[in-house]
């Protein structure tokens, strides 16, 4: 059963067609690579999946819960559909601690009300302590637990990327969207990230879609690859097929 089905999805900004007529399916447990030249519509596609934009045409089905074009679902509801994401240009809460960043990921798991927080009822402490333990567990997976009380903005770049993934995982997603996770990393860090992505996929039982320009990472990690060019899905298939696909070679290298 597909975990995500996109049918006839189109998105226009005024006269510009950012995406046209996208049809694709993602199976549970896959790692999907999304590649394409700059401006091909990859991030727009993520923004549609996470409800930041609502599609001009077509629809996105996720886990049998339908999302039509007319129904304008608010971005903060998307996480309830099991979709969590990271951002191309890291969007951490820089003046909050590492721990607090992950706790925001747990936002929808907190149950106490306003009264309990203001009056500091026992329920408040119980709930906060549970979340604290879970958050620290998550941080230790990413070996960030000794930095829990540091401000997120003070972390080195690679650890900020990791923290963003940790925060996204706190929401217990089924589908994780990674927008250029290896951007700005050196080859060794990229190598580590590659292992990490494979590992969290099994550990948290995830389906992952990642946008990436680093071809060694994409070819290594992804089971299947979708190629976008000028808002059109020009090719899909295994890394092997994509590497030999004439349309893809033309999109990247130009030609007849």
């Amino acid at each position: 059963m597909p975990v995500l089905r996109v049918s006839n999805l189109s998105m226009s900004f005024g006269g510009i067609k950012a995406l046209s007529n996208i049809n694709l399916e993602v199976e549970r447990g896959e790692i999907i690579g999304l590649i394409g030249p700059n401006g091909a519509g990859k991030t727009t596609f993520f923004n549609l999946l996470t409800g930041i934009y609502s599609p001009t045409e077509g629809e996105i089905e996720y886990n049998l819960k339908k999302r039509g074009t007319s129904k304008n679902i608010k971005p903060h509801k998307i996480i309830g559909y099991g979709i969590s994401r990271t951002f191309q240009n890291i969007r951490l809460f820089k003046n909050m601690t590492v721990l607090e960043n992950v706790l925001i990921g747990f936002h929808n798991n907190f149950r106490y009300g306003l009264g309990a927080s203001v009056l500091r009822l026992p329920f408040f402490y119980k709930n906060e302590k549970e979340a604290y333990i879970e958050a620290m567990n998550l941080l230790s997976i990413f070996s960030l637990s000794d930095k829990a009380d540091e401000f997120a903005g003070n972390l080195p770049y690679g650890e900020q990327r990791k923290l963003e993934i940790a925060r996204a995982l706190a929401a217990e997603p089924q589908l994780l969207l990674l927008d250029e996770p290896a951007a700005g990393m050196n080859p060794r860090e990229t190598q580590e990230l590659m292992e990490l992505i494979k590992w969290i996929k099994d550990r948290f039982n995830l389906t992952i879609i990642l946008i990436e320009h680093d071809m060694s990472l994409v070819m290594n990690v992804c089971k299947r690859i979708f190629v976008f060019d000028y808002g059109i899905l020009i090719a899909q298939g295994t890394p092997q097929e994509i590497q030999n696909n004439p349309a893809v070679i033309k999109a990247y290298l130009g030609g007849e």
């Binding site: 971005p75 951002f87 951490l92 119980k126 906060e128 009380d149």
Partner: protein, 321 residues
């Protein structure tokens, strides 16, 4: 976990709170604190409530509001009407002030909080002017001449416990997942939304809680000074409150308290030369911006106080020890 209320730092703070109250009350009875000092203590208390509540909106949630005095005005008028025209006891006046200011907060918050930055500032500024002009034109509340003969109920006890209640409630709110959501909105609205934070709800909530306490401050003000008029709660009053918040440090409750105390005392000393007051204010703000751009206390807050910390760790209360 249930024993948290009786932990050492809570007992210590309770002791300090009660001691401070009794000390001032005693000194006031003995005449060591005369009515002039008491007047200034009351003003400091009102300013603390105003600054801490505005800090929740502007400092923590990041919504730039220039209409805080309007909520104070609504509270002041509500309490004045309740205690003067309806002859209700003060507690009813305070409740009416709190409720009417909070309702105004919801009504104003829902449409204006869709706006960001400068646009929100202008919209709240407009709201402040609308409230002032309505006050000037409604005869029931005395129009431009204002309301007179409001019974003086506000005393040290009321001020003190209202300040404590405000600080405690807002501090507890901030140190919960609700408060963290508000701070996340200030830090990065898109990321907060992607993490499942309902940004509109939390913005309106912060705005409403802030308005509620500003309303209480208004009630305390009206029932101390006998007399209120719309022009007391104009644009300049909003700026005064904002100055305290920026001076003390955006996003620091302790900073707002310190800011309110320091600026109220400076203001009291400058009473004889009112023309120079704003000049001195400007100079102080200028110096603060140059030498401490994050405000007097910056990010330092109640939870960072050595006195209240155990084992040197932040968030000790949450970790449950």
């Amino acid at each position: 976990m249930n024993t948290n209320l009786f932990r050492r730092r809570n007992i210590l703070s309770l002791f300090i709170i009660v001691f401070l109250y009794i000390a001032v009350q005693l000194m006031s009875n003995l005449g060591i604190i005369d009515s002039y000092i008491m007047l200034n203590l009351i003003i400091i208390g009102i300013n603390i409530i105003l600054a801490v509540s505005l800090n929740l909106i502007t400092g923590f949630t990041g919504q730039f509001s220039l209409g805080h005095a309007a909520f104070m005005s609504i509270g002041a008028y509500a309490s004045a009407i309740a205690t003067t025209k309806l002859e209700q006891p003060f507690i009813v006046g305070i409740l009416m002030a709190a409720v009417s200011a909070a309702v105004a907060g919801v009504i104003i918050g829902i449409p204006t909080l869709r706006l960001k930055g400068d646009y929100l500032a202008i919209a709240t500024l407009g709201f402040g002017e609308i409230v002032r002009i309505i006050g000037l034109n409604v005869d029931y509340v005395g129009g431009a001449t204002g309301l007179n003969d409001i019974p003086q109920y506000t005393n040290w006890t009321w001020i003190y416990f209202m300040v404590i209640a405000t600080v405690l409630i807002i501090k507890n709110f901030i140190n919960s997942y609700h408060g963290r959501a508000c701070i996340a909105i200030k830090e990065d609205e898109i990321a907060a939304e992607a993490m499942g934070v309902n940004t509109t709800y939390y913005k309106v909530l912060a705005f409403t809680i802030g308005a509620l306490f500003a309303g209480i401050a208004g009630a305390l003000y009206a029932n101390y000074f006998y007399f209120i008029k719309p022009d007391s709660f104009g644009f300049m009053k909003s700026i005064d409150i904002l100055v305290i918040v920026v001076f003390g440090g955006m996003g620091s409750i302790l900073g707002s308290i310190a800011g309110a105390v320091v600026l109220s005392i400076i203001s009291a000393f400058l009473q004889s030369i009112p023309e120079l007051r704003m000049v001195v204010y400007a100079v102080i703000l200028f110096l603060i911006m140059v030498y401490r751009p994050n405000g007097l206390l910056g990010k330092f807050d109640l939870k960072d106080l050595k006195l209240f910390r155990k084992g040197g760790k932040v968030n000790a209360g949450i970790k449950g020890e």
